[in-house]
Amino acid sequence: MQIKKALITAAGADQRKLAMQTLVDRDGNRKTVLEILIDEVRQAGIEEIAVIIHAGDRDVYKGLISMDQQIHFIEQDQPLGYGHAILCGLPFTGKDYFLHLVGDHLYVNKSDIPCAKHLVEIASQNNCSVSAVTPTRENLIPNYGTVGGKRVPRTKDLYVIDKVIEKPTPTLAEQKLIVPGLRTGHYLCFFGMHVLSPGLMQILKQNLEKSDGRKIGLSEALNQLATKEQYLALEKNDWRFDTGSRYGLLKAQLALALSGSDRDQVMAELLEFFVMKNMNSIGR
């Protein structure tokens, strides 16, 4: 199986501006968040990318992104939820597996293998949907989609997912989402990056039909997917930054800068800042 398509969502009311924010990437180049994500996707061997955007945002994006033939913008015409945003990409993904990233997250890998590339390789090898997950302390899980399941025998970082719950309380997580082998009080939470099968689109479609105009989510659909197909989780210990959170953009920028070519310069400037600040505080 080859995965050649990627779908990035940036349509949410809170999300739409984040993908347009400008940062300096690891190589010292100014880029928007979306461009950095496109770089990540390209490294995974993806050839075609669709970005789901808020209705009316097309022109803004066209002005910001250096366009080529492989990037498509699809407007989400109605705010019917995250699941619906992905479903808007159905004409683009068709019957193919696709890589999916959220437009307000940035990823900084600790190892040499970019996260998306690793994920695509695993999905290709196993011929199934795979979500990147990261072990998360229980006090944070009410912020994320969380999965339950079991480790795939003889692997270190792969799990078979049997349950997905969006933003569970620890009470619920403890009952449904315990994963053997994880540290006490830790759960596998979504990293914001998935390889998804065409089966998911069918589930989303059905969910939308039954929704009576209510918003539909992705986690509920992934939970259904786990009962219908093999669905794996890949444990990643890389950094993921939610640019929409408090200081999220700043943290993402620092992580990029401190893991890139300008590391020494940024470190030196930060150090100088701290020293000056401390000296001022002691009256010198």
Partner: protein
């Protein structure tokens, strides 16, 4: 493998279910001791929890019931104080090791066996409780809460719907939960005790129904409603406000430690719900961080949480699991508010209900209350079968216990039990609260113990109860309500009482008998609800007679209560309920805008406090809400009468306290209370000249034990010369019996203020009997056996005289006999509020049994609250805030003998029977004290003024004993011993049974029998001796009843002189004799009854009584 270990380990039910009795009855002392050694080794190595516990119960039972009666066992023996201290501090293993070392070196004896029995018993229950605790903590959904230790780690957030102000009114919405209570239709032998369900899941099953209730009022058309209501809302103050509307208490919590202070006020259950639901997770106990940090994180800066509860008109002791369902309701409410349920409102799903139940068990453990696993049944809708479930892989109990902590609930739908049957059940059942509110804790311990010992009759009874359960379920499915009544009745008369005879009582049986007589075949059966009868009960009738039966039961209960209220502890006036089956279980709705107001009683309770505040200091929400209330009471029917109620709340308290004081002052006057003497004592207490620590003899006092050779033993009972001497004296009517019945027996009813001597506590010869009846039956037997006619005196006090006089006056079907006398006590004292110094001495200096970790915390919190109460109410001031009878006290049994002289009773007795020479004086609860010819012969032969009966000490025998004080042999009170260790060096315990030579006693008062009519001389003689007797300051518990069956227990100070100190008078020489335990045993606590009835003591007493 030994027989007993084989029984424990076997998987074959025919072996596993064999009783301990079977082996022990046949075994010799040597075989029993060998068996205990083997069991001791086995239980230390056994990994299976329940096998270990069963071995512990076997060891307890062998030491408690079998070794002491095996003949050759030593009766003397000192209990090592160190081992006692280990027990007090819950170091049971260390205590056992020490006791066994003594047993190995000195041989088995009664004292050591009593210590071992106690240590094994407590260790067994501790092991079981630890396992339940572990299971509760390990339940998925509860575990995370123990890991959250910092407010910033709190993962729960408030549901956003609760955080949105209403646009029109500006106030926050209010989440409102209503919850039914549960009734148990089957009562299958208390099988919902956690320990039973976890060891014997196949035998743990109940049929449980959620019900709405209201107290029946024939004049009003009242509709049964879910009796529990709870509310949750956001407030604009950074506090947690907790309010119990029915208990009229509210508190603003501002710090984390306050949340964990359960006994500080009446809000313990609300605090437990906050913790068990995860709002303040248990892991935060002791975190030392401000509560505002937690609230900022969860609710938002400057905001707080308000939780309120209300139980509508169900008195305590209803046996309907009100407190567990209230806790469950609060937990469900808090879980909804913090997004732990799928939906904010409506009914819960099955998983959520199970989680609420698990958290309610956690909450009960935290708050120190207890219940069975069916008790949160009100969370589920309608009728359900609840059954124990075997633990499977993945359960925290798997590999530890056979069953799971949480049972399986199967809701019986209308296909299984149709609507007609449900209606028929409602039309047939009369539910009542009989008015008694008793602690069922001891009953549950007895059930567990009997289950694990598998005594033949009780095990058979349990199997019968299980069979009855299946029948009841089948009858319900068939719609046969009459058949259900038949089985619940048979269950009560059979298995329930076979397992625990104390589950029934004279009150309940009187009601059943009267109803059976009056309604004949229209009465279909009695139904015991919960742990024991007397409180919540059911009577099933032909539906055509239900209304008549409701009317009649109300009358009958009130009449019967009136008849027995001096003898049986009633907490309230009996009531009849109306009920309906609740088909929702717990359910919630969200009120917004004008519908977000709290009920009227809430405002009646809180407004007086708010109105005292400056308007500017009120929060914006409070101001808005006050404005809305100001309109609502004019327009909304729900709030009609609000202003009147508000005034009633603000003003009547003074009126009430004035009303109380009038009868107390009048009573004091009538009873000859001496205010000058009282003021003197108060002054001394306040100044610290007297107090608990000052009761003690000087530290320089030499206190030595008395050896076996220094006193007489039971060999005298076989001395024919002494027997003949006694028989001769009896025939000559030289003896009279004096039963000391002046005290109310505060330990017996935990300070309830009923007359212990009239408490019908045991069935003998087919009827419930009280202490007075048993003593009279013994005298009757002596009269018949020894051809005599003994005079029998009951000494009374102001508290006991009216009830005992009525009981003996011949109007109750009991013939009035001229030989029975009542000697009325005339001296009373007024109780005082204790000093902090004395309370601290009692609770912190004197060794006490340390409780289980959580219970200990609660006890410490309660002690702190009571010390604050004493300081606030005025240390050393008069205790007046209770019923008048609860404020005054008898001044010790010393006065009961001189009263015989002072009030002319002795003079009359001598006039009636000039042969009278001796008195046998005993406590009302020393049932074995009888006119034994050998002991009387011994007393006469010794020619001393007094012969004192003592027994060898067992672990529970606390309170002094026989000692040589500075070389003089005498009785010494425990209160007077300078060091607690000393008591454990004394081999003999005082039974408080005395044979008194009347003339010699009179001589010590400076009197002769001819001078008994000289009142002045008598008074002067008594006064002189009284002034030489020490006065002890003691602290007793007294119950204060309030609300609907609520009871608080307060410590109060009182003063007593005790008869045993007469043995210190040099002019009153005494002889001492060691008698058997069956003769000398005193019954101080109802928890002793089961052991007393099983160890042969009851049989012994029946043997010395004549009931004809």
């Amino acid at each position: 493998m030994s027989t007993l270990i084989n029984i424990i380990c076997s998987s074959d039910p025919s072996i596993k279910n064999r009783s301990l009795d079977e082996f022990c009855n046949q075994a010799s002392l040597g075989e029993l001791l060998t068996a205990t050694r083997e069991l001791e080794l086995y239980r230390k190595e056994e990994t299976n929890l329940y096998n270990r516990v069963r071995a512990l119960f076997f060891l307890y039972a062998i030491h408690r019931f079998y070794i002491p009666v095996k003949g050759k066992i030593g009766t003397e023996g000192i209990i090592p104080f160190e081992a006692y201290e280990h027990i007090l501090n819950r170091r049971f293993e260390e205590a056992i090791t020490l006791f066994l070392t003594v047993q190995d070196s000195k041989g088995a004896n009664e004292g050591i066996s009593s210590g071992l029995a106690d240590a094994y018993h407590q260790l067994a229950f501790q092991t079981l409780a630890d396992q339940v605790k572990l299971s509760v903590r390990s339940t998925a959904g509860n575990k995370w809460m123990f890991r959250v230790g910092h407010p910033l780690d709190q993962p729960l957030k408030i549901n956003s719907a609760l955080l949105r102000h209403d646009e029109q009114t500006g106030i926050y919405p209010c989440l409102h939960e209503t919850t039914p209570v549960r009734m148990d239709l089957s009562h299958s032998g208390w099988s919902d005790i956690f320990f039973l369900g976890m060891d014997y899941p196949e035998g743990a099953k109940v049929l449980n129904i959620s019900v709405n209730l209201c107290i029946r009022n024939p004049l009003k058309n009242t509709e049964p409603k879910p009796p529990i209501e709870t509310w949750f809302r956001i407030i604009d103050e950074p506090v947690i406000r907790l309010t119990s509307i029915d208990l009229a208490t509210s508190s603003d919590i501002t710090s984390l430690p306050e949340v964990f202070d359960f006994a500080k006020d009446y809000l313990g259950l609300l605090k437990a719900a906050l913790i068990a639901s995860g709002i303040v997770p248990p892991g935060m106990e002791g975190a030392g961080l401000p509560l505002s940090a937690l609230l900022d994180n969860m609710v938002g800066q400057g905001k707080g949480i308000e939780i309120s509860s209300k139980v509508n008109n169900i008195p305590k002791g209803s046996r309907l699991a009100v407190s567990t369902n209230l806790l469950a309701s609060l937990i469900s409410l808090c879980m909804r508010a913090t997004c732990q349920t799928e939906k904010l409102t409506g009914i819960l799903n099955e998983e959520e209900r199970r989680l609420v139940a698990a958290k309610a068990i956690l909450g009960e453990w935290l708050a120190g209350s207890g219940g069975g696993w069916q008790d949160s049944g009100g969370v589920w809708p309608g009728m359900k079968l609840i059954k124990g479930v075997e633990a499977a892989v993945g359960d925290p109990e798997y590999g530890i216990s056979k069953g799971r902590l949480l049972p399986q609930h199967t809701i019986l739908d209308t296909d299984t039990v149709n609507q007609l049957t449900r209606k028929k059940l409602q039309d047939s059942l009369v539910m009542v609260h009989g008015g008694m509110a008793q602690d069922v804790g001891p009953v549950l311990e007895m059930v567990t113990e009997k289950y694990l010992l598998r005594s033949k009759n009780e095990w058979q009874a349990r199997n019968n109860a299980i069979a009855y359960f299946e029948e009841v379920v089948q009858k319900l499915k068939n719609g046969d309500i009459k058949g259900i009544g038949d089985f619940t009745h048979k269950n009560f008369e059979g298995p329930i009482q076979d397992i625990i005879p104390w589950a029934s009582n004279l009150y309940t049986e009187t009601l059943i008998n009267r109803i059976t007589e009056e309604f004949k075949d229209k009465f279909w059966g009695f139904w015991m609800m919960g742990g024991m009868s007397g409180g919540g009960m059911g009577f099933i009738f032909d539906p055509a007679y239900k209304q008549k039966a409701q009317d009649r039961l109300q009358q009958l209960m009130s009449e019967t209560k009136k008849k027995f209220e001096h003898a049986i502890p009633f907490a309230m006036e009996p009531v009849v309920y109306d009920f309906s089956i609740n088909e929702n279980g717990t359910i919630a709705d969200l009120g917004t805008g004008l519908n977000a107001l709290m009920p009227m009683e809430y405002y009646t309770l809180l407004l007086p406090g708010i109105l005292k505040k400056d308007l500017l200091s009120l929060t914006e929400c409070q101001r808005l809400e006050l404005g809305i209330i100001g309109q609502a009471y004019k327009l909304d029917d729900q709030y009609s009468g609000f202003v009147n109620n508000l005034f009633d709340r603000m003003i009547p308290q003074e009126r009430e306290s004035n009303n109380r004081q009038k009868p107390l002052n009048k009573l004091l006057e009538e009873l000859g209370f001496n205010p000058d003497q009282h003021e003197k004592i108060k002054k001394e207490l306040k100044s610290g000249r007297i107090g608990l620590s000052k009761n003690r003899l000087p530290i320089s006092t030499t206190i030595e034990d008395v050896s076996t050779s220094e006193i007489s033993g039971q060999e005298v009972l076989e001395d024919q010369r002494l027997i003949d001497l006694g028989l001769n004296s009896l025939r000559n009517r030289e003896l009279a019996i004096v039963s000391l019945a002046g005290g109310v027996g505060s330990r017996w009813t935990k300070g309830a203020g009923v007359v212990k001597s009239l408490n019908p506590f045991v069935k003998m010869d087919g009827r419930h009997r009280n202490f007075v009846e048993i003593h009279l039956a013994k005298t009757e037997k002596a009269n018949l056996s020894y051809s005599t006619k003994l005079q029998h005196v009951f000494t009374t006090s102001y508290l006991t005289n009216p009830a005992i006089s009525t009981f003996l006056d011949g109007t109750n079907g009991r013939p009035q006999k001229p030989e029975i006398h009542i000697s009325e006590g005339k001296v009373i004292g007024l109780r005082l509020i204790p000093t902090e110094r004395d309370l601290r001495f009692l609770w912190e200096e004197i060794p006490h049994q340390v409780l289980d970790e959580q219970s200990q915390k609660i006890q410490q919190s309660l002690h702190a609250a009571l010390i604050n109460w004493a300081k606030g109410a005025g240390e050393g001031e008069d205790y007046r805030d209770n019923l008048p009878e609860q404020c005054i006290h008898p001044v010790g049994h010393w006065y009961e003998i001189p009263n015989l002289i002072l009030n002319g009773t002795l003079r009359k007795m001598i006039k009636d029977n000039p042969n009278l020479k001796h008195l046998l004086v005993h406590n009302i609860d020393t049932l074995g004290a009888s006119a034994d010819p050998a002991l009387l012969g011994y007393h006469i032969d010794q020619q001393k003024s007094m012969t004192v009966e003592v027994i060898t000490r067992k672990l529970d025998d606390r309170g002094g004993g026989l000692a040589k004080i500075n070389g003089q042999m005498r009785l010494v009170e425990g209160l007077a011993l300078p060091d607690d260790k000393i008591e454990f060096n004394l081999s003999y315990y005082n039974t408080n049974t005395f044979w008194i030579n009347i003339d010699k006693l009179l001589a010590s008062f400076g009197l002769t029998r001819d001078e008994l009519s000289d009142i002045q001389k008598v008074e002067s003689g008594v006064f002189k001796v009284a002034s030489r007797m020490p006065t002890y300051v003691i602290i007793k518990d007294v119950k204060k009843r309030w609300g609907k069956g609520q009871e608080d227990v307060y410590p109060v100070t009182q003063f007593e002189k005790l008869w045993g100190d007469m043995t210190s008078l040099p002019e009153l020489p005494c002889a001492y004799i060691n008698v058997s335990r069956m003769r000398g045993q005193q019954l101080k606590d109802v928890a002793q009854l089961d052991g007393w009835s099983r160890d042969g003591s009851k049989e012994y007493i029946e043997g010395i009584c004549d009931w004809d």
